[in-house]
Symmetry: C4
Subunit: 194 residues, 4 copies
């Protein structure tokens, strides 16, 4: 019962974050193709951030599915994750309006990094609450994607000051890595169910 409401609130916040980002796609003054083309940087930022929120929603969905009860630690680490994700529309808009400028790009990376760490903390809170023999711990295994992503962000932040294109590429690359959905938890849950 408790769990349902955690999901409902998180779904609500994620649905709003993913949707208000589109408000940054301001209607251009002109009505020709060049006016549209000028939106390309903001649009590509929107695509990337939409992808990230979609990935987080997807993985969050699997994460909470493996949870039975919601502890205070889970509630607060979940809110902490939502806090960092709520800053993504701001970071997206700043990057979009200053295409490949290093400082906005770095801030985008910091928001992604903090969200990744917050997700890790939420994961840990669930593992701790499940105690030894945690289904989630087994499902995560080595969790190489979860470990590689923050490392990629840590690398991309300074890289952006020298080679902004490479930093942007890293942010896209990590997203693509995750679009392959997190089947580990699904698979283990299914095995446990059998």
């Amino acid at each position: 019962m408790q769990k349902n409401r955690l999901e409902a609130f998180s779904d609500g916040v994620l649905a709003i974050i993913i949707t208000i980002m589109v408000l940054e796609l301001k209607v251009p003054r002109g009505a020709d193709w060049s006016a549209l083309a000028a939106l390309a940087p903001i649009f590509s930022g929107y695509v990337l951030s939409f992808l990230y929120i979609g990935i987080y929603w997807n993985n969050h969905h699997h994460l909470i599915q493996s949870t039975r009860q919601v502890s205070a630690a889970i509630l607060w680490t979940n809110l902490h994750l939502l806090f960092w994700l709520s800053l993504l529309p701001f970071a997206t808009a700043w990057v979009g309006q200053n295409y490949l400028a290093p400082v906005p790009l770095a801030i985008y990376g910091v928001v992604l990094l903090m969200a990744a760490l917050a997700y890790f903390m939420l994961q840990q809170a669930i593992v701790i609450q499940q105690g030894p023999g945690s289904v989630l711990a087994a499902a995560l295994g080595a969790d190489w994607k979860g470990k590689l992503s923050p490392l990629a962000y840590v690398a991309a932040i300074p890289i952006g000051f020298v080679l902004p294109w490479l930093a942007a590429g890293l942010y896209f690359g990590v997203a693509l890595l995750w679009v392959v959905p997190d089947r580990r938890i699904e698979r283990t849950l299914r095995q446990v169910g059998e």
Copy 2:
């Protein structure tokens, strides 16, 4: 259980999309009838897009109802559909502020077209997951509305550069076609239930 959360998230995103479009209906400076009349193009665009989101919500509701389990393909094709629908407020605002200008009208058509294709992909993902004897495949039958709509958009996009009124008429026409709700799925589900 999984399914509930897919519905909750989609409901949230669609509810926000349908509602933020009204933010484009900017409060006019004047307080007389002429100030109100000047909003007519934006208002009619709002009506059309509200109708489209309503239709998608309605059909999405029937579509997911016919689903038992949510596969990774369903999750991602659903997000893909929400992505294109999330661009409707932008396209609506651009058309509204440049009444019958061909480029915004074409972009409106492209967004509708991509959303229709995304809906088709979601439909296919569900049919595939249900396997042979799929309830949904039986319910859809020839699916002539689902096939006619993208064709109408494909036609309307170039038409808009010559006869913008006709293109706008086509977008309204397809919407009206769908306001007659998708009883096929409902009917077949009922037959299966009997």
Copy 3:
């Protein structure tokens, strides 16, 4: 099952409508009491519209509670109601920025009137779907509040062009009439349950 999603979507739209109205309460430039006092008209409009959306949510809640199955007519009359309510933030903002100007006041009344008619249509769709011996029809009884409210709006719209204060007073008066929650349905449902 169907019903849950209708409620979830309606809750989402109403929650967004009630909340985005506050975005019209634009942050003033100054930081003193006079800057705050200048917001009084917009604030009082916000209070009134918040009340109206709250009343609609409340009554909608009771209405849908009395429903077992959701027909196509219920889905579409519900969307129709949400459409008119979605225009309330616009009407509220226009009235707020043009305090007691007759045209915005009339439009505010028109939106309330159309929402009241849409609510009536939704009510009828449910009664029809329930068939003879409808629980809702019994619960509504003479439904004098439901009949008085649109009459009050119809009266207030022209009155506003002569005595704007009286029109505003009527809009507030009808709201207060409804704050007394709709116990009729609750009571009849309880009797039926006994």
Copy 4:
């Protein structure tokens, strides 16, 4: 059943409030560190208000969990609470744009105070509905946090006109007091369940 919808609507409103506050974090014109640093006051206001909405969501979650049935008084006191919380984005934005100006700071305190009183009223409505032997009344006990918080706001409002830093510190302090989640209700519910 009734309760679920109260939760869903409240979750929706709280999710929107917590997310639209970030829209005040306007994208700066520049793309360097100084542009970012200029956002520090608005950002710290955002953090504080995010924390407050998170706390209210958390405690609301526990409060409604202890409720079986929803009375009219609970519906309306809940809406009343949401009304005051809906003003937090406005108050946050005004404080953020006028860092430590006494009037915005006082208004921020008034909104927190009114929300605290509204929460108290909701709590009372639940206790009254539960009647003698109320689980919630037992769970709340002396409720010193619930009593201390409004007192702190009452003190902070006038203090802000002399020592704005101290007032801001009090608002932060009360938030931190509540981040320790309200285990009282959880504990008592568990004892009752045993």
